[in-house]
Amino acid sequence: MLQAEGVQLLCLTASSGVPLFTRGSSKQLPFSVIGSLNGVHMFGGGQGVQLSCCETDRGDRVVWRVFRESVMLIAVSSSGDHTVTELQLCRLLENTWNCMVLVLGQEELSNVRNVERLKRDLRSCYRLIDRLLDRGEDESVMGDLTHCADCLLPQNTSLLQEALDAFTQASESEFGCLLIRGRVAVATEKWWRLVSQEVVLLSLLMRCLSGTTSCDYPVFLPVGSPTVAHRLLRFQLIQGVDVCTLCGPAPSLHHSETELVGRFWSPLMDILHGCLEQTQHSPAPSIALHPDILALLLINRESSRSLSLPGCHTTVTPQDAPPVPSTLRRWELLRLFYTFAVTRYFTTGEMVTSQADPLQEDFSQGFCHVPLHCYLVTEECKCYGLQTPQHQLFLLAALSMPTFALRSVATQTLTSITATTGF
């Protein structure tokens, strides 16, 4: 989607500015522009200034970041209509770097001895990076932006959890995860102790591999194990349901596939089919939403997990009613509203925001309190965000919902979801 919005990603060596790769937007920037972008960053560096972001008066944006003093990533959005935010671009750079570490390991990226070789090796990261730029069918997946694991709440979780724990143990591992439709359904305790970016990244990798029956992928964990590779074993149990474990040297893929998978998962065949069917329309089928809700994103801040739910509001509306955005557009709007809310109101220390940006209103700087609720009414929909110490809720409602009702609907929605699911 970022690709469609004209985002281009450049990767150069930090010390010499040699281009390593460019991905994204089909219209490539000329070499001289790439050189200038690197040059201006380098010039700043010489003056003791770190250049991180700039915005042109046409609404284009450039974001720079240097990783481990060896690789510079630059993201350029040239949509010209402010739709790609700084947060999105910053996340893109972080995610791209993490993908590079996941595939190649930190060592190879930090100590560049042979640029030509690195260039060749970096090609093996393209599949993941392109998926970040063009998310394809993952439109309701938010993890790349929120850095929270996209989850799903099927029934029968205890049975699934039991099977997963036993399977993981038999695979001589403590890290196991079951994905349904590319979202985490259950995971072992240790899996949840991985840094949330890693959980998001591994889910992304598994979605990329979803067409195949099983995989044995060497992966470096960007935070947990950036220099030693583990083996990610992934098995497609039935179409749409994948199980994976992070393993050491044993067991072999062949052994797991022929001996373990059937033993632990065949008995759950019907349950897995049930979960798949149940979650066809919504990742949390037990939840009844207010009919005017178009979509929502619920984040558990403590566990860094997220739930993105489509509303039940149909796109067919009575003639005199205002048009309702398409499903795809709802997810886009939700991403935009999330970005809007977390960069302006729900800011945390971790959030990368340039508070000193004079082009933005300096509202939040003037107050020492942290806002708990915020709302926004646009031409397409109404948005409401609220946060508690444990949760953040971002909700999109149809224009037909009265603005004064947003607050109570949002609060009730949060209470009812957390009460029924314990999320």
């Binding site: 595939v103 060749r120 090796d121 090609r123 093996s124 393209y126 599949r127 392109d130 591999l209 067409g211 195949t212 029956t213 099983s214 995989c215 044995d216 992928y217 060497p218 590779a229 083996r231 990610l232 098995f235 497609q236 149990l237 039935i238 179409q239 349901v241 040297p249 072999s252 893929l253 062949h254 596939e257 998978v261 059937g262 998962w265 065949s266 065949m269 897995l272």
Partner: protein, 253 residues
Amino acid sequence: MEHERDESSGAPLLIPHGSVIVADWHRCPDSKEYFSKIFQKKRRKTFGLLEAPAMPPQIHVDTVRYKVFLAGKSGVGKTALAARLGGSDIPTMHYETTGIETTAVFWPVKLKDNGQVLFFKFHFWDCGENALRRFDHLLPSCKEKMDAVLFLFCFTDHGSFEDLSNQISRVSHPSHRIVKLVVGTKFDLFMHTDVTEREIRTFQETSGLPVFRVGGDVNAGLGEVAPLLNALAEHLWHQDCVTASCAPLSSQV
């Protein structure tokens, strides 16, 4: 498709097309109820590890499974071949495979002598060349208990054709029997072909391995993959019969 018998090279015997299984069975009317089980909504169905074609209860069909390793230089189209044989969409972009990926393919086959129908379940193992080079554990894992190898070369890259002998010596193990076939990919781009018919004939004569050609139209249906899958089934079945002194169903699961 050419098959040649070369008994002097010591390579596993090459069996003529249609001598063990019914040739082009997918075109016969009696195969319809079996082949329909590997389709869903007019597309090939992909099967997870717990899934298998669902036959009506009164018909019992045995499944025999084989591990087939796809070997070949980087970029020859190993991943694309696995997708093609499995009937899924062939990736539009070329991406390196940075680990092992397997694809399970069910293929109904009718044996010639007794008319028995079997489901062959091929597990195609595909691993990127660069990954093989970077991580030592991947090649042994691919070779573990493998039953067959498809050596791939690409018609538009002569280097990949020259690399075949390397590939063959790296994967083969004299002590255990494996079926070996050679597949030339991107045959549809014959305008740009880099490998001549004469070279292929010479290669077949010296190596004793049959060469298949794939490429082009992916919508041609089963006719496009059937010759290769049937030949693979035929060779594997023959090998099993030889190993088990002609006791059938030796690798039944």
